[in-house]
């Protein structure tokens, strides 16, 4: 058969696609358990870190035990979305898994709020695909640490309750610095964090665990 004939070309393409498709599938299948295990370990490690839990050891079981002992977890479905909600037994701090669109791709993480929803206690990112060295620096300690203890300005417009970057009042208690060279990632983060906080407040309100009249409105300085 001639190499230029349509039948040869079609047959060759089918064989190549089958062989290489099978190879990729085999590699993926062979590492599937490792990938699932890594993902679970990463999530549990992030939960322990964001709730500041003490963990004895570095194994997956050690992280799981710390979570089981200190955190209650439930899935709440509200308006078609399932929320992963975590509550610290000792302090009553409440957290949820957030996600939103960054500059390149989706960013997800866990945010912990004080029991009265007035402050952010801590934040950790689970997954992001921002530019390494620029937007990806949202995972660095100095950036995350800024969120610890900042107020949520519930009395401000829905897109200004948390400010990432410049603000009319630089010393505002609801503001953190943006990342130099990653303005778009910082703005995207501010946008979807505010949106997620608003949506989560509605979830809490719906569940009747919090009445909004109880939620303080921190004043800005």
């Amino acid at each position: 058969m001639k190499k230029t004939s349509p039948a040869y070309i079609l047959g060759f393409m089918i064989i190549i696609c089958t062989v290489f498709g099978t190879a990729i599938s085999s590699v993926h299948y062979a590492t599937l358990n490792m990938l699932i295990k890594n993902e679970k370990l990463h999530k549990n490690r992030s939960i322990c870190r964001v709730f500041n839990l003490s963990v004895t050891g570095a194994s997956a079981d050690a992280f799981q035990k710390a979570i089981d002992d200190n955190i209650s977890h439930e899935q709440v479905t509200y308006e078609g979305r399932t929320w992963e909600v975590y509550k610290q037994k000792e302090t009553g701090n409440i957290g949820f898994v957030f996600s939103g669109t960054g500059f390149w791709d989706r960013i997800s993480g866990i945010i912990i709020l004080s029991a009265d929803l007035s402050k952010i206690v801590n934040i950790q990112f689970l997954d992001q695909k921002e530019t390494p060295g620029l937007g990806a620096r949202i995972e660095e300690g100095w950036f995350i640490d800024q969120f610890k203890g900042i107020s949520i300005a519930w009395d401000q417009p829905a897109d200004k309750r948390i400010i990432v970057g410049p603000a009319p009042i630089p010393s505002a208690k609801n503001r953190v610095d943006a990342i130099t060279g990653a303005t778009q990632t910082s703005l995207a983060l501010m946008k979807f964090l505010n949106s997620e906080l608003e949506a989560f407040r509605a979830v809490i309100k719906e569940r009747g665990e919090k009445k909004m009249s109880e939620v303080p409105s921190p004043s800005l300085e």
């Binding site: 190499k3 230029t4 040869y8 070309i9 060759f12 393409m13 190549i16 696609c17 290489f20 190879a23 990729i24 590699v27 993926h28 590492t31 490792m34 990938l35 890594n38 993902e39 990463h42 390149w104 791709d105 997954d127 992001q128 695909k129 921002e130 530019t131 390494p132 060295g133 620029l134 990806a136 995972e139 130099t180 060279g181």
Partner: protein, 203 residues
């Protein structure tokens, strides 16, 4: 012209270096060289992909119809890149979280396609394998050199380790973190390499 493995290896690393002589793979050179750790994993991924895709394309060269050879090359390259991505994700998940976006971009690296088309599709498998390794190593050496300068100047660290008492004597150059910093570095390195390191071929 018949090549020896030694010639192929030296050409890939030195005389025909993909970065400063062939000016291939510039996109990733600009993108990943602001951190040395990212650069090292990118280099590993590229050497793996260039070597194996060259070998495979060379093995199939007598059976591949000319009209669809580039489709086949892209398919093979994409397959190896996906394998690299899966391996790094499974074995070094923390590193993958940092460089994951760039691993996928290895597919678009001009060096791989360039060597596949220019060398592997016309030469024997073992020579093609050497050529792939040599091109990958040549690319890696330049990237590592540039990253070793950009990271200290831009972040004040090397391999993520902060330089001693950095705040006392150094103010980071933000431009070195961003792509324009890589343009300056790459331009200077190319000028230096072509002026002093390699011989110009007289035609």
């Amino acid at each position: 012209m018949a090549y020896t493995p030694k010639q192929v290896f030296l050409n890939g690393i030195w005389q025909d270096n993909p970065i400063y002589r062939q000016v291939l793979g510039i996109c990733s050179t600009l993108a990943v060289t602001n951190l040395l750790a990212n650069t090292l994993f990118m280099c590993f991924g590229l050497i793996f992909t260039t070597a194996l895709s060259n070998l495979t394309i060379s093995l199939l060269r007598d059976y591949t119809p000319k009209r669809i050879r580039m489709i086949i090359q892209v398919l093979i390259i994409a397959c190896y890149v996906m394998m690299v991505d899966i391996f790094i994700k499974a074995l070094a998940p923390d590193i993958h979280r940092f460089i994951g976006p760039y691993v996928g971009l290895i597919i678009t690296n001009c060096i791989i396609m360039g060597r596949a088309e220019a060398f592997a599709s016309q030469n024997k498998p073992l020579l093609s394998l050497f050529d792939g390794i040599a091109s990958g190593v040549g690319y890696s050496l330049v990237l590592i050199f540039i990253a070793s300068i950009r990271e200290p100047l831009g972040f004040g660290s090397i391999l993520g380790i902060t330089l001693p008492a950095r705040d006392l004597w150094w103010h980071s150059w933000i431009i070195m973190v961003m792509p324009p910093g890589a343009f300056f570095m790459l331009g200077m390195f190319t000028w230096f390499a072509r002026r002093w390191l390699t011989k110009e071929v007289k035609r």
